[in-house]
């Protein structure tokens, strides 16, 4: 196909600076518009708006007690969302996180009732999470197996091991000093003391992703594994350590869960993985990889958690929450797509109108440009 005159190719206008601002493709905005209107920041606005709305209009929401309960409920999802963001940005996924948390909880129960000191119990349980993550990493990063299928397998495997370890029993007699520490709050603010630890983990992952070369490499990895390898990013090692991180943080979540409820059971944290993924996707992380941010993911988790909390506060059935979560998720990914589609349609129409030859050549040009734009 011979090269048509450059003015006819809408894609050619991509590369010149002037037209970029109206380009309908994702990521085509520049400057302030790009930051302030990107998916993650929109989520942060949504969260802030909702919190303010709730504080003003929902009775009993604006109080330290509320903050305390809300944050205590949200912490496991918040913790797991952090490494999950990084994993999804590299184009992979980890569905076994809740099972690792459950396995950790089961281990804690068994070791504690066997008489070990709480210190070794915590360390061994954390180690189990690290090993589980390494197992995932081995299969996905080193052997190159598809992560969706592998982590469905390890989801069953680790939950099954939790059952093997603790069976049908529940252990509830953890040291009261420890369990009350986990539900204690800082002064009169209502913020749980453990939030300090959670904040540390969040800052760690945030800095790792957004401010280090390793983090930038993860974005590159998500766009294109081959290109990333050529640029010098150690793909295998990066993914492996990400899965180890995911396993370790899941273990932390499992430890938190056990000590907060003072209950070690094999079915703890069951089903948490879908909640975390839904929240992270809501927060602007793209399932294809290469796009996302920690603040966005945190906003997604907090948004779902806050909505959940306010519904419970008003004794509205969980049914509503389920529908709201699903609709939010669908709307949050469909809306940008539709907006993009509309502006692309307007863009093509505008070009067709502006170009005199186009009316004669009509559909063919439009189709050709359409195909090229769709890539």
């Amino acid at each position: 196909m011979s090269n048509p005159p450059t003015e006819l190719l809408p894609t050619a206008t991509n590369r010149s600076g002037a037209r970029t601002a109206v380009l309908p493709q994702a990521g085509g905005r520049i400057g302030l518009a790009r930051i302030l209107l990107s998916r993650d920041t929109v989520m942060i606005y949504a969260l802030v708006v909702f919190v303010i709305f709730a504080a003003l209009f929902i009775p009993r929401f604006a109080s330290p007690v509320s903050t305390g309960f809300l944050l205590l409920d949200v912490i496991p999802a918040l913790l797991i969302a952090l490494p999950m963001t990084l994993v999804i940005i590299t184009g992979e996924i980890d569905l076994s996180v809740a099972s690792i948390a459950g396995l950790t909880s089961a281990l804690m129960g068994v070791l504690w009732s066997a008489g070990l000191d709480i210190g070794p119990v915590l360390i061994i349980s954390l180690l189990a999470g690290v090993l589980a993550g390494a197992f995932n990493g081995l299969l996905v990063a080193v052997l190159g197996l598809p992560s969706l299928a592998v982590t469905i397998g390890t989801l069953a495997l680790f939950r099954g091991l939790a059952l093997v370890v603790i069976g049908d029993n529940a252990v509830a007699n953890f040291p009261p000093e420890l369990t009350s520490f986990f539900t204690s709050k800082i002064g009169g603010t209502g913020i749980p003391t453990v939030m300090i630890g959670v904040a540390v983990v969040a800052v760690f992952f945030g800095v790792l992703l957004h401010f280090t070369p390793f983090g930038r490499g993860l974005f590159a990895l998500g766009y294109s594994k081959e290109a990333a390898t050529f640029v010098g990013i150690k793909v295998m090692r990066a993914k492996f350590w990400l899965y180890v991180a995911s396993g370790s943080v899941s273990a932390l979540a499992g430890i938190y869960w056990t000590l907060r409820y003072s209950s070690a059971r094999s079915d703890n944290a069951s089903g948490l993985e879908l909640t975390v993924i839904a929240a992270v996707l809501l927060g602007g992380v793209s399932i294809f990889g290469g796009k996302g941010s920690i603040p966005g993911a945190i906003a997604g988790v907090l948004l779902i958690g806050t909505i959940n909390f306010t519904l419970r506060l008003n004794r509205i059935s969980d049914v509503v929450l389920i529908i709201v979560t699903g609709t939010l998720l669908i709307a949050s990914v469909v809306a940008p797509s539709i907006i993009e589609g509309i502006s692309k349609w307007r863009h093509t129409r505008r070009h067709r109108r502006q170009l005199p030859q186009a009316s004669a050549l009509g559909e063919t040009r439009a189709t050709a440009s359409g195909v090229q734009e769709r890539k």
């Binding site: 919190v51 929401f61 109080s63 305390g68 184009g91 409820y261 209950s263 906003a299 890539k375």
Partner: protein, 354 residues
């Protein structure tokens, strides 16, 4: 995966804006926490305004629905102005905690709870008590230190005894039996199972009956169905199954009635007449037991009112009036009994509608 051209990395300025936005969100959250606006809701609001909330093991359970129906009737009769029912959609241990927390915040006067796990709900209940709520446990007890009274449908031992008696009659006094229970940690089922085992061991009439297995259907229809299948495969000489849970007995009855084992293997336990009617009519089940679940809720509501009024404190010997059902006395460890169990057979099953 589609090949997208690599976008330029974010600049320092954009990252700072991100951080700022995140901080703004957290500040908003903290600010709401420090806001001295609405109170944290300690105690009930207004004189004579008593509120009661029921938290069953899970919603969408037919047995629970009957109990809650009676509970709501009792609460209205007892004079509560605010009556609510909340609960998780799945019977898991920690799922009830956030509902208890919401009640603590709302300043509910009485919380009536059937615990999925006796200890996991403890800390949350203690916070509720600190906020002034009275705790009534019903159906499935919590650890006694977390609640004021426990309303039990029947004397736990009687439940066990009647089920053992029924199965012994139906298998002819000897043979292998198994138990298909609900969740592994359910306080009520575990107590009954304990008494069943004791009775089998101690009573000479049951010397030839062996309990070979205990399986758990988690009060899930499909799972109970599959556990029943598994039992028949693993223990081909099984002569009887006791299922002390309405979901379990119904699922087992369905399996047995559609299989070769119908009529060969006896089935008894605790079931709802409406659910079990077709199985009694087609001969899969000869007799099973239960009580009137609505009475359980009814008595619980009145017990809650008596606690909130201060008429009783939950100590042994306290008495209160449970509306139309008459007086009830609190036994050891804060235990209240509703009444004796009823046996359902083909003769009387049509008289009941629950």
């Amino acid at each position: 995966m589609t090949m997208e051209f690599i976008r330029p990395t974010t600049t320092r300025r954009t990252r700072r804006l991100f951080a700022l936005a995140a901080v703004a969100a957290s500040v908003a959250l903290v600010a709401s926490g420090c806001a001295s606006g609405d109170s944290a809701g300690t105690g009930s609001g207004g004189e004579g305004d008593l509120s009661i909330t029921f938290i069953p093991k899970q919603l969408n359970n037919p047995y629970t629905d009957v109990v809650l129906g009676g509970g709501k009737d009792g609460a209205t009769a007892a004079g509560f102005t605010g009556i609510e029912v909340v609960g998780p959609l799945e019977a898991s241990a920690s799922s009830q905690v956030s509902f208890i927390n919401a009640e603590t915040q709302a300043g509910t006067s009485v919380i009536v709870i059937a615990a999925n796990d006796p200890d996991a709900v403890g800390p949350a209940l203690e916070e509720a008590r600190a906020a002034g709520a009275k705790i009534v446990a019903f159906d499935s007890d919590t650890n006694p230190k977390y609640r004021d009274v426990f309303i039990s449908q029947v004397v736990a031992k009687d439940v066990a005894l009647i089920q053992v008696k029924l199965i012994a009659e139906q298998i002819g006094g000897s043979g292998e039996i198994a138990i298909l229970s609900a969740t592994a940690n359910a306080t009520n089922q575990n107590e009954w199972i304990k008494f069943i085992e004791e009775e089998l061991a101690s009573n000479p009439d049951y010397a030839d009956i062996t309990l070979v297995a205990k399986v758990y259907g988690d009060d899930d229809d499909t799972k109970s169905f599959q556990e029943a299948q598994g039992l028949m495969q693993a223990y081909p000489d099984l002569k009887g199954i006791i299922s002390p849970t309405t979901v379990g007995i119904a699922a087992t009855a369905r399996y047995l009635s559609t299989s070769n084992y119908k009529g060969q293997v006896a089935l008894t336990g605790l079931g709802l007449p409406n659910e079990m009617r077709p199985f009694v009519k087609d001969g899969t089940v000869t007799a099973f037991a239960l009580w009137d679940p609505a009475q359980l809720g009814y008595v619980a509501a009145f017990a809650g009112k008596a606690l909130a009024d201060g008429t009783i404190t939950g100590a042994e010997g306290d008495k209160f009036t449970a509306g139309d059902l008459g007086e009830r006395e609190i036994g050891a460890d804060g235990l209240v009994i509703v009444g004796p169990p009823t046996t359902f057979t083909a003769d009387n099953i049509d008289n009941y509608d629950f």
